[in-house]
């Protein structure tokens, strides 16, 4: 029960109200008690002061001569004027009790002479000052000066503490005529009655207050917990995948704001979930695309009688724009190419796949320029004119050990001459495929007779432009050096390829692959 916000709210406020009312009640009752006590004291003193002469006059007129009935009647009349005075007594200066209304209600006392019980009372009777006996036993003598000021004194007229606001008086003794004293006995029944009424009223108010508090706190807490429960139900629905669920909270308070936030969250969850689903679908398709593209690339090196060919590709993204292939034209001739589609990603990958497929289909041309022409025609008509392909192509003839090279806007291939043991760029005029009409007219070829140990390297610009963390490019010079070092050692094409790629990866050292990196190594043997 105490886990519930409603219960906590209700119990807390209820307890608070009870405590507040109780504390207020205690304070009020105490203040009221003091006020009434002081009133009773003041009224009793005034009553004593103003009735003393009447009491004695009546005593002398009626009781002293023996007329008890008349005296009693007069005295009762006086007592009715102040219900806080329960009895009036008269004593002589010698301490003899002449009358006591408490015991002489219907007849005058006729027994053994009564005297005051103790010296302290006798002192009070024989004083010239009014005195009060408090319930605590303290006796205070009140001396009035000519200005009406009152001083509280002891029996020897030494100053003492005055009557306190909560002091209750047992009796007041008023001396009169130097021969009598009148004793007024006080009771506080009216105080008790009024306090009881006050307590009763405060109790009623406390109960009413408590009930109202419980009601209000219940309603208030409900106004908080109900929307929260609605929110909870909404959250559970979302947890089950129902992102269309919304919470209807119309309050303008924090809970309403929370509900609005929740609804916004649900909406964004819905959107992001759709996006996630789409992304997953796209990722799956991309994976398929990668798989397809990977299958299009040669899986292994090509070992011919006079030439070893090995190629490798590191894509910048899952699907790359580079492509290479070794295509058997016939038993004697092989076409090897490396193409680089502008951009990278799925679009470039699609184009490179198309190019790969077209090159295969155009293999029968055996003419590199013709192949470039036909490829250009297709790309110009079927692919966006913003997409073009740079390409380096070679045609190997086994019988003549010649390698014909054409360049369609691609970086020049590197040629390691085993005789000079040097690497040179073979620069050849060319234009990227798909860029212009009749691009073939801008493409030239060059033929090489391959000696054993000669190495030809086709590479994409991603190789030389690969950055290390310090933004330093791998560079052509370093590429040449790697090729030269590997060729000098007469390593096979596969090793040379791997050496180049490992050097690239080492250079990049964790940096982002900004472009596809492709190499095709052809080594004469």
């Amino acid at each position: 029960m105490f886990h519930s916000l409603k219960a906590k709210f209700t119990i807390s406020f209820g307890t608070l109200i009870v405590l507040l009312f109780t504390a207020s009640g205690v304070f009020l009752i105490d203040a009221k008690s003091r006020e009434i006590t002081a009133d009773i004291a003041q009224n009793s003193l005034s009553f004593a002061h103003f009735t003393k002469n009447t009491v004695i006059a009546n005593y002398q007129q009626y009781l002293e001569p023996g007329d008890f009935v008349s005296f009693n009647r007069e005295l009762r009349g006086l007592l009715q004027r102040d219900t806080d005075i329960t009895s009036i007594g008269i004593s002589s200066y010698s301490g003899l009790t002449l009358f006591d209304s408490a015991t002489e209600q219907n007849a005058q006392y006729t027994g053994v002479p009564r005297t005051v019980p103790d010296q302290a009372t006798l002192d009070r009777i024989q004083s010239i000052n009014i005195s009060v006996l408090l319930r605590t036993g303290r006796v205070i003598y009140l001396k009035f000066d000519s200005a009406g000021n009152v001083t509280s004194l002891d029996v020897n007229e030494k100053p003492m503490d005055q009557i306190g606001p909560s002091d209750r008086i047992t009796n007041i003794i008023v001396p009169i005529d130097n021969a009598y004293s009148i004793v007024y006995t006080i009771n506080y029944q009216s105080l008790l009655t009024r306090l009881a009424l006050a307590k009763y009223q405060i109790s009623i108010f406390t109960i009413i207050g408590l009930v109202l508090t419980l009601l209000v706190s219940f309603v208030l807490s409900s106004s908080i917990t109900n929307p929260i429960l609605d929110l909870k139900r909404g959250v559970l629905k979302i947890a089950t995948g129902d992102f269309e669920s919304r919470v209807e909270v119309k309050t303008q308070d924090e809970v309403g704001l929370l509900a609005q936030s929740f609804n916004i969250m649900a909406q964004e969850l819905q959107v992001s979930t759709k996006a996630l689903v789409y992304k997953e679908r796209v990722a799956k398709e991309l994976e398929l695309a990668v798989q397809i593209q990977t299958n299009l690339l040669p899986k292994d090196k090509l070992v011919l009688n006079g030439l070893d060919i090995a190629g490798g590709l590191i894509p910048a993204t899952e699907v790359g724009g580079d492509a290479f292939d070794y295509i058997k034209v016939n038993d004697n001739q092989y076409i090897t190419y490396l193409g680089d589609v502008t951009g990278h990603g799925v679009a470039a990958g699609i184009v490179s796949s198309i190019v790969n497929s077209l090159m295969y289909s155009f293999r029968s041309q055996v003419d590199l320029i013709e192949m470039v022409k036909q490829l250009n025609d297709v790309l110009r008509r079927k692919i966006s004119q913003k997409v073009f392909v740079t390409m380096a192509l070679t045609l190997w003839a086994e019988d003549s050990r010649t390698l014909t090279y054409a360049n369609a806007g691609h970086p020049p291939i590197l040629y390691y001459d085993s005789a000079t043991k040097k690497v040179i760029d073979v620069r050849l005029q060319g234009m990227a495929i798909g860029m212009l009409e009749d691009v073939e007219k801008l493409v030239k070829t060059q033929q090489f007779t391959i000696k054993p140990g000669d190495v030809f390297l086709m590479y994409s610009d991603g190789i030389v432009e690969a950055n290390n963390p310090a933004k330093e490019q791998f560079g052509l010079a370093k590429l040449k050096m790697v090729v030269q070092d590997a060729a000098i050692e007469d390593k096979p094409a596969e090793i040379i390829k791997n050496t180049i790629l490992s050097n690239i990866i080492e250079h990049i050292n964790g940096s982002e692959y900004l472009d596809d990196m492709t190499v095709v190594v052809m080594k004469g043997k």
Binding site: A57, Q60, S92, Y93, S94, Q126, S127, I128, N129, D145, S146, V155, N156, E157, P175, D177, N178, A179
Partner: protein, 487 residues
């Protein structure tokens, strides 16, 4: 700027720590009277002497400022019966020589006042039968007859130490003791062991300045701070100088009294005089400090009655009453020295009613003797109510000369009923009953025209602005009640 603020604050704090030089509070109060002290004896009953001695001696009972009884050396008192009074004494009181006060001292003092040859209080206390010690702080006084004025009388009885006989060396229980005295000057010093509140002034200098002009100059020059008996003619000058002049009823009534033996035995003549006399003598001769009255009792005193009607001058009525007396009326008006102008005015007023008056001005001694011998036709008579009760006038002046009564009855007035009322009132302890009887006597003697009340006098006191003091209705100047404004 911040620095200067801090500096200022520091300076203020520092200056508040420097002990401030206290304003100089004078330690001495000087009071001037018209007459010098003539006796240090506590048994002296002279009002003038008591103005000095009341600073040194105390009584069992005293008056407060409103003439109500207040506790003094007696804390409380009461009656066992009509003849037996008990007084409970205040403990821890010591005399100015260090001896303790107790019941022995009270018994001795009162007994001495009753019996000593030099005591002027004997007739005042003649109704006391005896006084007994009950214990160290309780005494009982037994009266011969019920005495409603016992407390009033005891207010006048100073208490001194038992076995004290050197009455020229006053040693009392009061707030001041005599430090020195030289001719008209008495220096009192504060008694540090006084049982009551310690006086403000350490020293009180009491001096007598008989010359009115010198009294004026003394208060104007701050030689004295309180002046008793301010001459009325100097009131305006004093007030213009910042001196507060306070007046209060002196409880003294002045009347013209008739001798019932002789021409004024005829009531018609007495009525003629009653209506012929003006009612404004107080205004004409008092400089504003006499109050016209039509009763023998002083106003505000026990026995004064507002129910008695005012006297109005009516010359026609006077003449009418005069005409009922056949023959010429030639009478002698006896007045003491100093009242010549008043007497001439009376003479003039009575002349209008065909009453021929010869004014005879005498010195006080001759004047008093002539009156008490019953030899005056009618005379000016002033009576001061020392007990603040009209009964002593009735007993001493109105009652026929029987026993202790009527010792000042120069009128030879005698009325059995009035005498009986006076006897009755003297023993009535019930205040209300007694008041009724006194009112009856007042009415009766006015109706009998025993005399014509003329005015009651006021006493004037001058108080300098440097001191605070409220005058007392009993006329006493208690130095212990004067405080300085430097408090």
């Amino acid at each position: 700027m911040k620095f200067f603020r801090i500096l200022l604050l520091f300076t203020l704090l520092l200056s508040s720590c420097i002990p401030q030089q206290k304003a100089q509070i004078p330690e001495k109060i000087s009071i001037a009277y018209a007459e010098p002290l003539t006796s240090f004896s506590p048994l002296d009953y002279s009002a003038n002497n008591r103005k000095y001695l009341s600073n040194i001696y105390e009584t069992l009972v005293r008056y407060d400022k409103t003439f109500d009884y207040d506790s003094s050396l007696a804390l409380s008192w009461g009656r066992f019966d009509d003849l037996t009074w008990e007084f409970r004494l205040r403990p821890e009181v010591i005399f100015q020589d260090g001896n303790s006060f107790d019941a022995e001292d009270v018994v001795y003092s009162i007994t001495t006042a009753m019996t000593d040859n030099s005591s002027q209080l004997k007739s005042l206390l003649n109704n006391i039968d005896k006084i007994e010690k009950v214990d160290d702080y309780k005494v009982r006084i037994f009266t011969k007859s019920p005495d409603p004025l016992l407390l009033n009388k005891l207010v006048n009885v100073y208490i001194f130490q038992s076995n004290y006989t050197d009455f020229n060396t006053p040693i009392g229980t009061g707030p001041y003791y005599i430090k020195s005295s030289e001719s008209a000057n008495i220096t009192l010093e504060r008694f540090d062991s006084y049982w009551g509140p310690s006086p403000y002034y350490k020293e009180a200098f009491l001096t007598a300045i008989t010359d009115p002009e010198l009294r004026l100059s003394a208060i104007l020059s701050n030689e004295v701070q309180v002046l008793a008996n301010v001459p009325p003619q100097y009131v305006e000058e004093m007030e213009e100088s910042g001196v507060d002049v306070q007046d209060f009823p002196n409880l003294e009534v002045s009347s013209l009294m008739f001798n019932f033996i002789g021409i004024f035995s005829d009531k018609n003549l007495r009525e003629a005089v009653y209506y012929a006399l003006a009612t404004d003598y107080a205004e004409e001769f008092g400089s504003g400090y006499l109050l016209s009255t039509d009763q023998f009792s002083a106003s505000g005193m026990s026995g004064y009655s507002r129910k008695l009607t005012d006297r109005n001058q009516n010359v026609e009525t006077a003449i009418e009453f005069r005409s009922k007396y056949k023959g010429e009326v030639n009478v002698t008006l006896d007045v003491p020295t100093g009242l010549e102008k008043l007497a001439e005015k009376v003479k003039l007023d009575l002349a209008a009613a065909n009453i021929n008056v010869t004014v005879l001005v005498s010195n006080p001694s001759y004047f008093q003797n002539k009156i008490l011998a019953g030899e005056s036709d009618f005379y000016f008579f002033g009576w001061k109510y020392d007990l603040a009760d009209v009964s002593d006038f009735f007993e001493t002046v109105v009652h026929s000369q029987v026993g202790a009564y009527g010792s000042f009855n120069g009128m030879s007035y005698s009325d059995v009923d009035v005498d009986e009322y006076i006897d009755q009132a003297s023993q009535l302890l019930d205040v209300s009953e007694r008041q009724d009887v006194l009112a009856l006597i007042s009415k009766r003697i006015l109706e009998d025209r025993i005399g014509v009340p003329l005015f009651e006098s006021e006493l004037l006191y001058g108080i300098r602005p440097e001191v605070i003091w409220d005058i007392r209705l009993d006329g006493q100047i208690l130095a212990s009640e004067i405080v300085g404004k430097g408090v």
